[in-house]
């Protein structure tokens, strides 16, 4: 627990150092906004941690449906806000919300809720609904379009099923269906194909890389071992686009050097291993175990994929770095996920016997 909080604080420090000096003159509006979200997230974190797990799981389907509705609403012009050609945001007064970010949590949560619900009702019906949810949610996000988040949501759904103990042959069958669909989609959207081609040509030599990736690599490379000092990075001054959001890791590379990037990775690994330890405590309870594991893995993998994008290991994708990137929804969703992990693993003592009873009965 303490370690998670430490990581949160540490990474926020990194964020503030980069976010605050993003533009020529010292700008604090980004920082203030971020801090607002941070306090909001903090409050939410403790609220969620202290909620009874049962209540959460009971509410899960309704939350998920609410999320779906928001996803649908965001697509309607006039309600949804369009940024850079994608309709992903809601405008709520001074802040904007991105429902797809929350779907990363809501989908596994829904699956867990359905699983819990199915103990009392029809098993196959629950499974059916689960499969449909896993397919429908990413598609709705993909329409925005936000293929990156769609893929992550899909993966998290699959991850839940994997951890929940679904037969492997079902996964094989599922993936064999999805690969052709993805291929088709790629042909349907030429810019996606182009991204992949650019990626392939840049694998050998960063000089050929697409502008953003090249600048990202240059930022990391120019930082050297120790970096050029927090807040002194120059690449973020318009050379490196999205430096405060998706490419924040590159700024760390420039300003804090190899030491900074490796330290960040160490923190993530530490967080992951601590999380796994927590999750293993609830191995008796399928829903808790699978949900906490999924959320944990989801966040850490998202961070890893983000770093892969920034370092040109995978083709460019709009994936933000959890906790580090600027963005309220992302921050709230990530903190919510952590809160859930803590909730699911901490409250186990109080309700241990109750849960164990259920799991032994139905698994």
């Amino acid at each position: 627990m303490a370690m998670i909080a430490l990581l949160g604080l540490g990474t926020m420090m990194v964020f503030s150092s980069t976010g605050a000096t993003r533009v020529l003159e010292l700008r604090t509006d980004y920082l203030l906004k971020h801090l607002t979200f941070l306090s909001l997230a903090g409050v939410m974190f403790f609220m969620v941690v202290n909620l009874p797990t049962r209540l959460i799981l009971k509410l899960a389907p309704w939350l998920y449906i609410a999320g779906l509705v928001l996803l649908a609403l965001v697509l309607i012009p006039g309600i949804g806000m369009k940024i850079n050609g994608a309709r992903r945001w809601f405008h709520l007064g001074p802040v904007s919300l991105q429902p797809s970010e929350f779907m990363k949590i809501l989908l596994p949560l829904f699956l867990a809720g359905m699983s819990r619900w199915s103990r009392e009702r029809t098993y196959t019906l629950a499974n059916g609904i689960a499969f449909i949810a896993i397919l429908v949610t990413p598609v709705m996000i993909a329409i925005e379009p936000d293929l990156g988040t769609a893929a992550i949501v899909f993966c998290m759904g699959s991850c839940y099923l994997f951890l929940a103990g679904f037969p492997l042959k079902l996964f094989v069958a599922g993936f064999s269906c999805i690969v052709p669909v993805l291929g088709g989609l790629m042909l349907y959207r030429p810019y996606q194909l182009k991204r992949v081609m650019d990626y392939v040509t840049a694998l050998g030599n960063w000089e050929n890389a697409q502008y953003q990736v090249k600048q990202s690599l240059l930022s990391i490379g120019s930082g050297g071992i120790w970096g050029i000092g927090p807040g002194r990075g120059l690449q973020k001054l318009s050379f490196l686009p999205e430096s405060h959001t998706d490419f924040v890791f590159a700024v760390i590379g420039e300003e804090l050097g190899l030491v900074g990037t490796l330290a960040t990775i160490s923190l993530w690994l530490l967080l992951f291993l601590c999380g796994i330890k927590l999750v293993l405590r609830v191995q008796q309870d399928r829903e808790r175990f699978a949900l906490a594991g999924t959320l944990l893995a989801g966040i850490v993998i998202q961070a890893a994929i983000n770093v892969c994008v920034v370092t040109s290991l995978v083709p460019p994708k709009g994936i933000s770095h959890p906790l580090l990137s600027y963005g309220g929804s992302n921050l709230l969703a990530t903190m919510l996920a952590f809160a859930l992990i803590v909730n699911l693993t901490q409250q186990q003592k109080n309700t241990h016997s109750d849960n164990q009873l259920h799991s032994t009965q139905f698994d």
């Binding site: 990775i265 999750v279 008796q284």
Partner: protein
């Protein structure tokens, strides 16, 4: 607990472990990639980033001024702007060319073609060093500010136009010194451009300056010449009049202070205007005072006599016989223009008798004559510093023959530059002490270096040198070849020179082409000024002799220059007129 036995629990746990291993491996891959990237590419990336983030701006050095001995401006630099285009950013070449061309005196169509042929480029000079009004006009026009720009450049400005252009030289379009002092002191005058490193963003906006990394700009330094702008002006005016009157190929005049060796004026015709460098001929480039040599003729005679006196081969009381105008030297017969009988040493010079000089030559022998030439600096550069100075041509002694014994004393068989001849006479006027000429009083911040480098060397006994100046050379103007020149009662000494020009077509001296020269100084007691005028092949008028082509001009220059320095003389000259 039943945990260990429940297969679904162990399945879940195993799957979580598989997932964990996968995640850890993924991060491991990233770590390896990051370290690898750092290992192999960091240096290259660092330099690339520096390159894209910084912009090195040149701060142009201001070329230094050139001043005359009284601090008057001869050459200066004016801060102007130069206009360039950024063809890459021009969208409509036609309209761009049409709106700019008239302001910079260009043909719109031609300009458009030039711009279009450079359309990939980011830089194209439209007009260098334009007038400020034109620059303002272009700024006020409705053109995209992205497509053009101004660069500060200095325009060289010569306030007196063509005055002293041969000495000053000029600066070309890229600010490089060409000819004259501009070339000689190019480095000093030009200074060193500074550099300023600017950190910029991707839109080329400056973010901040790296003050500590700047190369400081070193502006060009000032050069003080020995020239006197007033004397220079009057000399040039006289040469212009001479050019119209006699229409020679060219002419030159040099005036100096014998005591200091300071050159007060050097002029050469034809000339050019440095402000309009495209329109003049190669001939105009030539500074005839140093870049041209001629057979000096009779102006050589006083020098030979002085050296013979110094060597005790003749004395002021020596007598010579004119042999009534015909003197046989071996197979060669020498002539004088008039038939003379017995002459004193002074009279040989006053009448400019070739026969008398030949007899002195015989006493000196070839070796003595050759030594005399060397002592007076013939065959060597004076070291004045003007680019392209000639040495003149003195044959090595072993190539001399019995002809030389008669020819050298009357100024043939060798060529000299006008400056060499003037300085040799200046040595006589300076009581026999040879003084290296000097054109630069002070170059830049260095003090007295020019002065200390100046050579001076006693050649002739002061008494003997004074005698040559005060007796024969003074009498040239009262009773000799220069007697018709109007000296207005001033105490002027001088010597005429008329030499035939060797005609390569005839294989001998041309009967019509001459170089007319005259050297004169003032006053005979401690001469202050000495001037030489040489005229290359006058074509207009008749009787092309030093006495009537060069002498009147030389004396006029001398009188006026002397008048400028002595108010009483100027008054005296006025009342006479």
């Amino acid at each position: 607990m039943t945990d260990e036995t429940d297969p679904s629990i162990s399945l879940r746990t195993n799957r979580l472990k598989i997932l964990s291993v996968g995640v850890v491996l993924l991060w491991g891959l990233i770590v390896v990639h990051l370290i690898g990237l750092h290992w192999t590419e960091s240096q290259r990336m660092k330099s690339r980033v520096d390159q894209q983030q910084t912009l090195v701006e040149t701060i142009r050095a201001r070329p230094g001024d050139i001043l005359d001995r009284n601090g008057q401006l001869l050459a200066t630099s004016i801060d102007t702007e130069s206009l360039y285009a950024i063809p890459r950013r021009i969208e409509n070449f036609k309209s761009f060319a049409e709106s700019i061309a008239p302001l910079i005196n260009r043909d719109p169509e031609e300009l458009r073609q030039q711009l279009e042929s450079q359309k990939e480029k980011g830089f194209f000079w439209l007009a260098r060093r334009i007038d400020p009004q034109v620059a303002d006009h272009i700024r006020a026009m409705d053109l995209s500010k992205e497509t053009y720009g101004f660069d500060r450049e200095f325009r060289r400005y010569y306030p007196n136009q063509a005055l002293a252009s041969h000495i000053l030289g000029m600066r070309d379009i890229d600010g490089e010194g060409r000819g004259g002092m501009e070339q000689k002191y190019d480095e000093l005058l030009r200074g060193k451009d500074g550099k300023r490193t600017i950190v910029r963003d991707a839109r080329n906006r400056a973010i901040h300056l790296y003050e500590h990394e700047n190369e400081r700009v070193e502006h060009g330094q000032t050069i003080h010449l020995t020239l006197d702008i007033q004397i220079q002006r009057l000399v040039e005016k006289q040469l212009d009049e001479l050019m119209t009157e006699w229409q020679p190929i060219g002419c030159t005049a040099v005036i100096c202070e014998p005591k200091s060796g300071d050159i007060l004026a050097i002029a050469s015709r034809p000339t050019y205007n440095p402000a309009d460098p495209t329109t003049f001929s190669d001939e105009a480039w030539l500074n005839r005072a140093v870049n041209w040599s001629y057979e000096p003729g009779s102006t050589m005679k006083p020098l030979v006599v002085a050296w013979a006196l110094q060597q005790d081969l003749v004395s002021v009381n020596s007598r010579f016989h004119g042999h009534w105008g015909e003197y046989r030297m071996g197979p060669r017969v020498l002539h004088d223009t008039h038939a003379y009988g017995e002459m004193s040493l002074a009279e040989v010079l006053i009448k400019s008798s070739n026969i008398g000089m030949a007899q002195i030559g015989e006493r000196m022998t070839n070796a003595g004559l050759h030594q005399a030439l060397q002592q007076f600096g013939f065959g060597y550069r004076t070291g004045l510093g003007l680019p392209g100075e000639l040495t003149g041509f003195v044959r090595p002694l072993n190539q001399w023959n019995h002809y030389s014994t008669g020819s050298i004393p009357m100024g043939q068989e060798l060529t000299v530059t006008p400056l060499q001849m003037l300085m040799a006479h200046a040595a006589l006027a300076n009581r026999g002490e040879f003084q290296q000429p000097r054109l630069v009083l002070k170059a830049g911040h260095s003090t007295a270096t020019e002065k200390s480098a100046q050579l001076s060397m006693p050649l002739i006994d002061p008494v003997l040198a004074d005698w040559v100046i005060r007796d024969p050379m003074r009498r040239v103007l009262t009773e000799g070849t220069g007697q018709r020149v109007d000296v207005d009662g001033l105490d002027i000494f001088g010597k005429t020179g008329t030499s035939q020009v060797y005609d390569p077509e005839l294989g001998t001296y041309s009967p019509t082409k001459t170089v007319c020269s005259f050297i004169c100084g003032i006053p005979t007691q401690n001469p202050e000024l000495i001037v030489l005028v040489a005229v290359d092949q006058p074509t207009q008028g008749t009787s092309h002799y030093g006495s009537n082509v060069a002498a009147p001009v030389a004396v006029k220059i001398l009188k006026k220059a002397y008048g400028l320095r002595h108010v009483d003389v100027a008054k005296q000259l006025k009342t006479i007129r």
